[in-house]
């Protein structure tokens, strides 16, 4: 049975990507040619743009396997002109398992009783409160 092929992310046209040449393209012209970046670097003073494209194959119930990924990294100088164009492929991906710890948050957890009683007045708790 054939796997389901899907593309994620911005998928820019390779021909257009080749046009971006450091030195003469500015943020506006890059945006006109490639559209908005998938993501912008968080702390870079003079901005780095990322165009991320991913091809995945999903077979039956298995997790989708990433078959190809190209990240176009366009760095600008402080005048907003393209300083460098770099490509990061799937080969440089690192395997990483996220830390399981989470910052605690408050909020009423839905208790089993509230669920089973349906919404008798939302989250009706008849407990008395300090006046």
């Amino acid at each position: 049975c054939a796997p389901r092929i899907e593309t994620h992310g911005s998928d820019p046209d390779p021909a257009k990507v080749a046009e971006i040449v450091p030195g003469d393209y500015t943020k506006q012209t890059v945006k006109d040619v490639l559209g908005s970046p998938s993501s912008v670097a968080v702390f870079d003073k003079n901005e780095v743009w990322y165009y991320i494209t991913e091809h995945t194959a999903t077979e039956a119930f298995f997790k989708p396997k990433v078959t190809a990924r190209t990240i176009l990294v366009i760095a600008f100088d402080n005048k907003g002109v393209v300083r460098s164009v770099k490509k990061v492929g799937l080969d440089q991906a690192q395997n990483m398992t996220p830390v399981t710890r989470e910052t605690p948050t408050a909020g009423n957890e839905l208790t089993l009783m509230q669920q089973l009683l349906g919404n008798l007045g939302r989250f009706e708790d008849t407990g008395k409160k300090k006046p």
Partner: protein, 740 residues
């Protein structure tokens, strides 16, 4: 309201503002709405604005502002407060519903405009339920301390039905053809259940759309509904609806082209998806379906931004239409964020994981539609609204999903009667969205003459975060098979199960069952073979199922195929060791509206791995799967005790066709004619006392089925045609399953 006194001398400064007549509203409040304050000049323009702002509050029946020397006097007459609201004469619509509809409440301020709006709201409520003759008269009763009671006197009148629907200008199709197309129906005695015969303006516009689509499907490209008029009879009792249509000529298809402006995509690959050939009658539906298929095909080829538009140009003289599918690069839009709201109980991820789109992906309308369908299929929500709003950049969009949850906990009681199980009563508590995690937990019990079960089952639809539905069942079943094989059986145990899709139509499932089977209270007149199998046996069994399902509708399919291979391997521990296979298949074909042919077949074989196959693990035939014969009425039988012993192999089949019996569709009554056939055999150990010919049995018969409001009801009459002397026949079978 009287107009403000105009003779206010200008000039001089307001030394003091005095408020008179305010008994309930505080003077401070009145002053806060004024635009003129102490120390300001007497400016008539500002005074006039203050007047308007005081009226706007709706607190006052009348306001006058006058000057008394340097004092600005604001004289107000307060609107009364409503003490109580009552409704009279409302039979069809309950007071609670009326109260919920109107804006005025006890202890709220009474204003004439609010009462008029509420009268209008009540009238629309009645119109929507088809009562156009209703009238509403508001009455006010003065009480002390400027309070009033409000009474709405309602004369409901009876329902305004649609008496007659006529069509003008239709040559290609008769009036009755077109009446089947639209939703609004003429009033008939048997339509007491449905409300389709009441006049509803929204449904009228929907009917126009249905007519347009019907004609476009049959090639009338220039079709127009020139007018749809609903006349009310003078006594307000009934409506006459007249549709004037302009059919226009019928068009054939000219040449069909696909114009592709995409990098390395040829028009040939897409042309295959087009279903309209030159010379066919033009069909708008077929064009839309072709576009859908092309979009899906393009999506599979990895193109994210495709916009396919069919362009139709008519040749009015030759009545020919040329179709060009315009395929070009759609606007590049990306999904910036997916916001989910309204999920008071369901977890965010339970909805988000159904999405075929991820934030950052290219926007794809087909994937969005499929995601919405998947969320609706969860059946946790009354309403699922998916809207697309512009994002932070022109080529970014945000998808907002608003869900309205419904209670997924269900306490359902069932009662019914069927020839195989006798009278049955059942109850189940089921929560399909446990704690909002999407998991389901249910405890159900069913008590019937032939079998009683208690079953606790838990299912996690996304086991290990994947598209695997896994869960466990804990069950206890007590069967009374005295009448067929003179013994009772009890089985208690648990099962672990998982099943998952291999493709859109193929699913695979695994199940491990560990249970103890007990055969007891064996009659002393029972067959020696059965007596030999009394006692308790442990069963540890692995089951593998492979399912193929392309039916269009699970409950009453009209086309498609369903096939299932089930393989049971018992013997990893436990006493019974056997290898059992079974194949079930059925296919449906609708050859006319309501006429559905249904071919069904099944066969199975069980082979012992050591020792013999006990009675509980053998096949039995008769009853539902071989109508005309009693349940377990066919197959190896003990000549002396007459007990059915079951067999190690069986095959059965049925050819059936269901058809409408002239009653309208809404009542859901259908007849069916069928022939069943099958056979069963091979019992080890056997002896001369066992009658076991393994010959072909067959039966023929007819029946009626009715999906009544209280549940499906069916009755079949079937007569054995090929049978053995020792088989047990059963002509009539009844099945009333009520669910309330």
């Amino acid at each position: 309201q009287t107009s403000p006194q105009t003779g206010v001398q200008t000039g001089g400064v307001v030394r003091e503002i005095r408020v008179e007549g305010a008994r309930r509203v505080e003077p401070g409040t009145v002053r806060s709405y004024l635009l003129i304050h102490k120390g300001d000049a007497f400016d008539p323009e500002r005074i006039d604005k203050s007047l308007k702002s005081l009226f706007a509050t709706g607190l006052f029946a009348d306001v006058t502002i006058r000057r008394d020397g340097d004092v600005l006097v604001v004289d107000v007459v307060e609107n009364p407060v409503i003490n109580e609201i009552a409704f009279e004469g409302n039979k069809r619509i309950k007071t609670a519903d009326l109260k919920a509809e109107i804006s005025l409440r006890p202890r709220v301020i009474y204003t004439r405009t609010k009462v008029q709006n509420d009268v209008e709201r009540i009238l629309t409520l009645y119109r929507r339920s088809g009562r156009f003759a209703a009238t509403v008269e508001p009455k006010v009763i003065q009480l002390d301390q400027n309070r009033i009671n409000l009474v709405y006197e309602i004369h409901e009148g009876d329902v305004t039905r649609v008496q007659n629907i006529r069509f003008v200008g239709n040559h290609a199709f008769t009036d009755s053809d077109l009446r089947d197309v639209i939703r609004t129906k003429e009033t008939r005695w048997y339509r007491f259940l449905s409300s389709d015969d009441t006049y509803d303006p929204d449904r009228l516009t929907y009917d126009r759309e249905l007519l347009r689509r019907f004609y476009l499907k049959n090639g009338y490209a220039d079709f127009r509904v020139s007018s749809s008029v609903a006349e009310l009879t003078p006594d307000h009792k009934a409506f006459f609806i007249t549709y004037t249509v302009d059919e226009g000529p019928r068009y054939r298809v000219g040449n069909v082209k696909v114009a592709v402006k995409l990098r390395n995509l040829t028009s040939a690959t897409l042309m295959r998806e087009n279903t309209l050939k030159r010379g066919d009658w033009y069909n708008a539906d077929a064009v839309d379906k072709s576009v859908e298929k092309m979009t899906a095909q393009v999506g599979n080829l990895g193109y994210a931004f495709v916009d396919i538009r069919p362009r139709i140009n008519r040749d009015r003289k030759k009545h020919v239409i040329d179709i060009t599918y315009q395929v070009d690069e759609g606007p590049r839009v990306f999904v910036e964020r997916i916001n989910i709201s309204g999920n008071v109980r369901t977890l965010d991820r339970v909805i988000r994981r159904e999405f075929r789109l991820v934030e950052g992906d290219a926007f794809d309308a087909a994937k969005l539609r499929r995601s919405k369908k998947r969320i609706q299929d969860l059946d946790f929500f009354k309403k699922v609204d998916v809207e697309q709003v512009p994002g932070s950049a022109p080529d970014k969009t945000v998808i907002n999903v608003k869900v309205k949850e419904k209670s997924t906990g269900a306490l359902s009681l069932t009662a019914g009667y069927s020839t195989t199980n006798g009278a049955l009563v059942g109850a189940s508590i089921r929560e399909r969205n446990l704690l909002g995690t999407g998991r389901s937990l249910s405890l159900s019990t069913q008590i019937a003459q032939s079998q009683s079960t208690v079953n606790l089952s838990f299912t996690e639809p996304y086991f290990l975060g994947r598209d695997i539905s896994a869960g466990f069942d804990i069950f206890h079943t007590a069967s009374n098979r005295q009448s067929t094989s003179s013994f009772n059986s009890k089985s208690t145990g648990f099962a672990l199960r998982a099943h998952y899709p291999l493709t859109d139509t193929l699913t695979q499932g695994w199940r491990y069952t560990l249970r103890s089977n007990q055969v007891d209270s064996v009659k002393d007149t029972a067959s020696t073979f059965i007596k030999a199998q009394a006692g308790k046996r442990m069963l540890s069994e692995v089951t593998h199922t492979l399912g193929y399902d392309t039916r269009d509708d699970k409950r009453n399919p009209t086309e498609g195929v369903f096939a299932q291979l089930t393989t049971d391997l018992a013997g990893l521990g436990g006493d019974s060791k056997y290898f059992r296979n079974r194949i079930d298949g059925s296919t449906y074909y609708q050859y006319a509206d309501g006429w559905v042919a249904h071919l069904r077949g099944a066969t199975g074989y069980v082979m012992p791995l050591s020792g013999n196959v006990t009675i509980l693990d053998r096949f039995f035939l008769g009853g539902d799967d071989l109508r005309g014969f009693a349940s377990s009425g066919v197959g190896p039988r003990d000549r002396v005790s007459g007990d059915a012993l079951g067999g190690q192999w069986f095959y059965s089949g049925s050819l059936e066709t269901s058809f409408p019996i002239g009653l309208p569709k809404e009542l859901g009554v259908a007849g069916h004619v069928f022939t069943d056939f099958g056979s069963i055999g091979k019992i080890v150990p056997s002896s001369s006392e066992v009658q076991n010919t393994g010959s072909l049995r067959a039966s023929a018969g007819f029946g009626l089925s009715w999906s009544s409001p209280i549940g499906p009801i069916g009755v079949d009459f079937a007569w054995p045609v090929l049978h053995e002397k020792y088989d047990k026949s059963e002509v009539m079978r009844v099945n009333i399953g009520t669910r309330f």
